[in-house]
């Protein structure tokens, strides 16, 4: 046990820090980490620069364009990226979900076709899992995939899809056997977002911004070579995707919370804080240390097995509630000023937007209720709930 970086880790961290310091354009500094529709050409160019410098796919196998390093170096990169308030690579869904799924379940042809342009941000991915009638209960998927010769024809509707408005491909779960129920008869598809019959509409959310989209699919043709895993075994493939979603996300989330805390401390210093507010701020700082250390503990499981363990659920659960408390504390310090919108709002309305956005944290990527079920059943071994 050693809570310091090894010399190798410290060298890597220093290298990342120096590179970001030199290369991050001023216009991109201060990225808000969710909450903005951050998708302009300058972010694509930034993503490409990250790729060219070797900061993308750090822990991916070298055979697929990665650097083949341990996940701890990916973690260090994510920490430094958040600390520098640099925008993340635009391929968030591709890097965290589609890519790892293709690596672990895809065919050689799929790996050869999709992975490199995903890393270089030439192609953007989105996710088509949730539907109006299938949120937490993914097995309720009704979007249909009808087999027609050498292709599937997809009809249905997907929702809460980040990046769909700029995406080239979508990882989509659809019901390929109309007589099937629940977890059976689902197939996992790669859908070309530019194909005829794909219609993307933005969803305006509580902050007033449109980060998510609805995807309407009518008669969209998907060739059979775009199936990941076996036809009818899509549930299993989807679980691989979700494990990776929670596993690799933790370090970025924790590092973003660290930036929030830094801003909160500055706000408290500027505006003053009551003893009760000071205690609450200390509590959140302590929680942040606990989350960061626990994320590093979970790395050892990831390094042993290559698959994130269910303990990732704890981190997402506790992080989401911490971020809600931190942003609420900032509102408390701001008083009525927090009610103002830009251009009159303090800090350009940063905290008001962040607080409203944080309400989504306990809903997206597994609601807190679902995560507590996972902890109860898969970690504590309690009987399944109904």
């Amino acid at each position: 046990m050693d809570f310091r970086d090894t010399p190798e880790e410290a060298r890597f961290r220093e290298e990342v820090r120096a590179w970001l310091e030199t290369n991050l354009p001023d216009a991109l500094r201060g990225h808000r980490g969710g909450g903005a529709r951050f998708d302009g050409p300058e972010v694509r160019a930034w993503s490409r620069a990250l790729y060219d410098a070797g900061w993308v796919g750090i822990s991916w196998p070298e055979a697929y364009g990665g650097r083949g390093l341990s996940p701890r170096f990916q973690a260090i990169y994510l920490e430094e990226e958040a600390r520098a308030e640099a925008p993340p690579h635009i391929g968030v869904i591709g890097l965290g979900m589609a890519g790892p799924t293709i690596i672990s379940r895809g065919t050689d042809a799929q790996k050869a076709r999709y992975l490199q342009p995903l890393l270089s941000a030439e192609e953007i991915w989105c996710q088509g899992f949730s539907e109006p009638g299938a949120g937490s209960d993914l097995a309720g998927v009704r979007t249909s995939a009808r087999l027609d010769g050498d292709r599937f024809v997809v009809d249905g509707q997907k929702v809460w899809s980040s990046y769909a408005h700029i995406a080239d491909f979508c990882i989509l779960v659809a019901r390929s056997d109309p007589s099937s129920e629940r977890h059976d008869g689902l197939t996992y598809l790669i859908v070309d977002m530019h194909a005829p019959g794909v219609d993307v509409r933005p969803l305006r959310q509580i902050t007033g911004e449109a980060e998510f989209n609805e995807i309407f699919l009518s008669g969209v043709e998907v060739p059979l070579e775009n199936v990941i895993g076996e036809i009818g075994a899509g549930w299993d493939v989807a679980m691989t995707t979700l494990l990776h979603e929670r596993g690799t996300l933790a370090f970025a989330l924790v590092a973003r919370l660290e930036v929030q805390l830094r801003k909160l401390l500055a706000l408290a210093a500027e505006r003053g804080a009551t003893p009760t507010q000071r205690e609450a701020i200390a509590r959140e700082w302590i929680q942040l240390q606990a989350l960061r250390l626990t994320a590093y503990r979970s790395l050892s499981a990831l390094e042993r097995t290559g698959i994130p363990g269910p303990e990732g659920s704890i981190l997402k659960l506790q992080w989401s509630e911490a971020n809600q408390r931190v942003t609420k504390l900032a509102l408390d310090l701001l008083g009525a000023d927090a009610q103002l919108l830009a251009p009159n709002a303090p800090y350009g309305g940063y905290w008001t937007t962040q607080q409203l956005r944080s309400r989504g944290n306990t809903i997206e990527a597994g609601t807190s209720e679902i995560l507590r079920n996972i902890v109860a059943e898969r970690v504590l071994g309690l009987p399944r709930s109904r």
Partner: protein
């Protein structure tokens, strides 16, 4: 960063758990034979020469088992004692408690009492001890009266380090206490049936236990950070100890309260062990500084004095 336990630490944990389950009330000399009392004492003075990180494993297990022995009070003081006193502790011939406030812990078991006077920590000779009835019977509080300063033990400059060590050990104990309360709850709700179903399948029962697990794991990470800081004389040791103690005490108390609720009436009885775990958790929460006071200290570290 390496936050995993070494094989030696894992082995110590398994050994300690097995021993304390088989021997719930070991004597001090038995603990000395096992090498626990002198775990972090130099081998030259009859100790095991291990680091505080190995000792930390023992404290988590001692908390879990509600060990009734002056292990925490002695260990808090131990590295600051003269070498011959460390040797006596390692041999099982001596144990210590520090009288720093009006209430003194472990007066029923500790063989020696230390006291702060001026710039020195002294041995207190010829004092009368009175052990008071205490909610947690396994760690009674008492008072000392009369007596005089005997040998000088160390400079009182060590007090901040001593406090960090003491708070860290109590945080480790709290994690052990909370983890056991949670395990008992999980075992119970897996078996207990009402309305024709095992009650652990009800989310109103299972979700609070999931919360306990998450909170205890986060607190455990903090206690190991604090233990590492103490073991390495890290400049963050004091803030880490305050942070770990505040979170671990709160997590343990909540885990015990949820455990009592999950057990229903049986968890509310004197026969069940839960009330003993709960009382130790409350004891730890109350000792030295409340979680609110400790967080106020952390706030001063972050924001400057109030």
């Amino acid at each position: 960063m390496d936050l995993t336990f070494t094989p030696l630490q894992e082995e110590l944990r398994a050994q300690a758990r097995g021993f304390l389950e088989a021997t719930p009330a070991p004597t001090w000399s038995r603990l000395a034979e096992l090498g626990w009392t002198g775990a972090a004492v130099d081998e030259a003075h009859g100790g095991a020469g291990l680091s505080f990180l190995e000792e930390a494993v023992l404290h988590e297990e001692a908390g879990r088992a509600l060990l009734h022995a002056p292990l925490w009070s002695t260990s808090s003081l131990l590295p600051f004692l003269p070498a011959e006193d460390q040797a006596a502790v390692a041999a099982g011939d001596a144990s210590w408690t520090l009288a720093i406030g009006p209430l003194v812990p472990d007066l029923d078991t500790a063989t020696h009492v230390a006291v702060v006077g001026g710039d020195t920590v002294w041995e207190l000779d010829g004092t009368d001890r009175e052990v008071l009835a205490t909610s947690d019977e396994t760690r009674p509080l008492g008072v000392v009266s009369g007596g005089e300063a005997g040998r000088a033990l160390c400079s009182s400059d060590v007090l901040p380090d001593l406090r960090a060590r003491s708070l860290t050990i109590l945080a480790l104990e709290a994690v052990g206490v909370g983890a056991r309360a949670l395990e008992l709850s999980v075992d119970y709700v897996k078996e207990r049936e009402q309305f024709g179903r095992r009650i652990g399948s009800y989310q109103a029962v299972s979700h609070p236990l999931a919360s306990s697990h998450a909170e205890l794991e986060l607190a455990r990470s903090l206690t190991w950070w604090a233990a590492w800081c103490v073991a390495n004389d890290d400049p963050q040791a004091q803030v880490a100890a305050s942070a770990a103690n505040a979170e671990a005490a709160d997590a343990a108390v909540l885990a015990c309260e949820r455990a009592i609720q999950a057990h229903g009436g049986i968890g509310f009885t004197w026969e069940h062990v839960l009330h003993r775990l709960y009382k130790r958790a409350l004891w730890i929460q109350s000792w030295e500084a409340s979680p609110a006071q400790l967080r106020a200290e952390v706030a001063s570290h972050l924001l400057g004095a109030a």
